[in-house]
Symmetry: C2
Subunit: 314 residues, 2 copies
């Protein structure tokens, strides 16, 4: 599964030497599957992703099974995933109860999932924006007291399906609130995939002005309108070194009605490797993993790179 | 078919104020269809593209029908297309015979299709690279004598399916040869879609060093590995103002075995409009045109933007 020495490696000036990929396929991807994937398949997926060189693999979510039945096996899966050496395994926690479940299993990294808009806070969390932040505050505090690394997702940063455009200062307010709580890292989510590069750069600059350092910011783009990689390139130019992606392009947002969701890790790796940026990822193994997973799920990967590379083998 | 005021318009610094889209769907797209599209449907497609605001629409190819039977109706189609007001209609000509056919119908813009590599020259043109350039020289000269604008396509600029990596100086040699013949404009083709942004910037810089001005260079990216829009963004940063794209993502290269080919015009327009770059295109009308064409062809458009926007109407 190679591409005849392609892409040609040609660095661009002023880009980071290394990017950390925050792999979200096992959580963000599989939580959007209609039927739950068996626990052993999930664990094998995580093992294969680690084998392909990914070092940050978001494993699951300790949300109530009523809301996300696809990840109801978090208690069974997490210990299996923890056995994989050399990998950080952040888990999503929605509230104090979820945090306690995660801590009891020895989770060292958690993530909370906030919204930049009232509409999505209401739809996804059934709370107002400020109420949802108030729920997260003690969760983040307790996690920090336990020495746990905390990521704060901010969804709908660049547009909202109900509200349309989202004011930048509103996004910045949620970001600084999460920082003030103690979040070590933010992930700026373009949940409906509408952002374009100028918009990304403007938000990053505003966050810097508000005292949020670039090295604490990750970007999380969706490919709904095909913009994810262009936006990622702009973010790299700004100095961002953490990029969220999903192996094979698994998943998306159930509220964004479109065929395509997360940026595919393979499409990202193709670009990063072409730019001479280190990721530690073996693209052939990663592609093989996504092909394997696509077979388990019974439908082809939407990743362009997975399709192109796996087609070559036929 | 709108997107609730999205994308938010946020310009990035140092990008062009306006981009000319060279629409290739009617030629590059339809020449790759298994069965020929009826002439009247092609003419209606061109009319609808013009209605959507596209001003440069590559109409057809005056190649021998034996090689591209899909475009065997060039003589019938071109006069129909010429009736569309306010639109430039370049046509591809492979040789002197094709040029004469185009001139007889009053074509004011032609394009020749060169290769940056020996293997593709052999596969596509059945000649060596230098032999193919020798065929084009008198064609370009005669066209210029007639006051016709000449575009020179250079395919496989960033990688070749047989040769792998393509040396930049070899691409530059073909480009300067075409310029020396009299080509007014070049189109740098990533025929198998493997380029990444640093590679694009390096070739553009090299061409500038070789005396090729940026305002005579168009870029022609394929989305085979999902890189087309990131590469386009890098090219815009370099100052490129002519971008090739295909409505609905029609077409691709028959030698590149993959599901996806040309950059979709809609995905490009979404980015350009988000960046506040003028195109003159009405995205809603363009999307409607691609949905209409997809119905004629009996399969959905691969454009992410077309899928997202047309889904909203259902």
């Amino acid at each position: 599964m190679t591409a005849e020495g392609l892409p040609m490696v040609v660095p661009a000036s002023d880009l980071p030497a290394r990017v950390r990929i925050h792999e979200v396929g096992a959580r963000d991807g599989l939580q959007n599957e209609k039927t739950a994937v068996p626990t052993e398949v999930k664990a094998e997926f995580i093992r294969r992703l680690a084998d392909a060189g990914l070092t940050t693999i978001e494993a699951t979510s300790f949300v109530h099974p009523k809301w996300v039945p696809q990840l109801a096996d978090a208690e069974q899966l997490f210990p299996l995933a923890k056995d994989v050496p050399g990998v950080e395994l952040p888990v999503l926690v929605p509230n104090q109860r979820g945090l306690e479940r995660a801590l009891a299993l020895g989770a060292e990294r958690i993530a909370v999932f906030a919204s930049a808009t009232e509409s999505f806070a209401k739809a996804n969390l059934n709370r107002s924006l400020d109420e949802s932040l108030a729920v997260f505050a003690p969760v983040v505090r307790r996690a920090k007291d336990e020495g746990v690394h905390v990521r704060g997702y901010v969804s709908m940063c660049f547009g909202d399906p109900w509200e349309g455009a989202v004011p930048l200062h509103q996004v910045a307010r949620v970001c600084t609130a999460l920082r003030d709580m103690g979040c070590d890292e933010l992930s700026l989510g373009d949940t409906i995939g509408v952002a374009t590069p100028g918009h990304v750069l403007e938000l990053l600059s505003l966050l810097n002005e508000e005292g949020v350092p670039t090295n604490t910011i990750g970007v999380h783009f969706h490919d709904t309108y095909g913009q994810a990689l262009a936006n990622t390139y702009a973010a790299l130019e700004h100095g961002v070194t953490t990029v969220d992606a999903s192996a094979g392009g698994l998943g998306g947002c159930p509220y964004a009605k479109s065929a395509t969701g997360n940026l595919a890790t393979e499409d990202l790796v193709w670009m990063l490797h072409g730019l001479g940026i280190e990721t530690g990822v073996d693209l052939g193994r990663l592609t093989a993993t996504s092909v394997w997973m696509a077979e388990r799920l019974g439908r082809p990967s939407p990743s362009r790179t997975v399709r192109a590379l796996s087609h070559k083998d036929q």
